[in-house]
């Protein structure tokens, strides 16, 4: 319980940091903190594999990508955000999100649940267990993820191609 509280505070602080930080780099770093604390929480929740995956994929790959882009886009540019201009945006968003969050949290905490008496199954959440699933019955899902990553690759390719504005329509006879 203590561990949970500490991790929770860490995660929340990280999350708040992301939202509050003035500079994107700081936000990214706060997000790393958040992700790491969550990873530890995963461990506590008997999800060893995911904890590892979280660290490697999120903290390792995704956040690095973020940091890279942040530096790419903010280098040599003015930093910081101008003042809020949309009327009531912060206020309404805050109230709504806090309301929704509190409502959900309360619901979740009060959810009775049906305690399962027996202990965890064998290999629950470790590499072995996940492997059996992901390379077994759920392999198709992994295939889908693979296709998505391919999509991402294509996307980067397409989006960063040199711009050809107003490319002329191909003339049919030229092709022939």
């Amino acid at each position: 319980m203590t561990a949970f509280i500490i991790l929770a505070i860490l995660a929340i602080v990280g999350a708040l940091g992301v939202v509050v930080a003035r500079q994107p780099v700081h936000s990214a770093l706060f997000l790393v903190a958040n992700i790491l604390s969550l990873a530890i929480l995963y461990l506590l929740l008997s999800a060893e594999f995911l904890a590892v995956a979280q660290v490697i994929v999120y903290a390792g790959a995704i956040m690095v990508l973020f940091l890279f882009v942040v530096t790419l886009l903010t280098a040599g540019k003015e930093e910081g955000e101008p003042k809020e201009q949309l009327e009531g945006q912060r206020w309404i968003a805050g109230v709504l999100a806090v309301g929704v969050g509190i409502a959900l949290a309360v619901l979740a905490i009060h959810h009775p649940g049906r305690a399962i008496a027996s202990g965890l199954p064998h290999n629950f959440g470790n590499l072995h267990g996940m492997g059996l699933l992901l390379w077994g019955p759920d392999f198709l899902y992994v295939g889908a993820i693979a296709l998505m990553l391919v999509t991402a690759a294509i996307g980067v390719l397409v989006l960063n191609r040199p711009v050809r504005r107003q490319a002329p329509r191909p003339q049919r006879r030229n092709e022939a």
Binding site: L45, L72, L73, M130, M148, L149
Partner: protein, 100 residues
Amino acid sequence: MIPVNWVVGLAAILFAIGAIGVMVRRNPLIMFMSAEMMWNAAALAFIAFARHWHDMSGQVMAFLIVGTAAAEVGIGLAIIVTVYHRRHRLDVDEISGMKN
């Protein structure tokens, strides 16, 4: 023993913070990070419930979320870069040419 319900409560709070981030920040990168945070919150909830139900399919789902997030971040960052690489500021409110 971690109280699963409390973990889900934490996830809800993270989710809300992420939502606030998306709605309040004007830097697209931070907005995107906040959205990722919402995904993370969902993954956390899945894992917590997987623990609760002693059912690994929740963890599989969480894994898939992480994988998808990776793909999405790739595309997202690419789009953000294409949109902003010539702009002065990273301000999402500037990208509002289409309206009404």
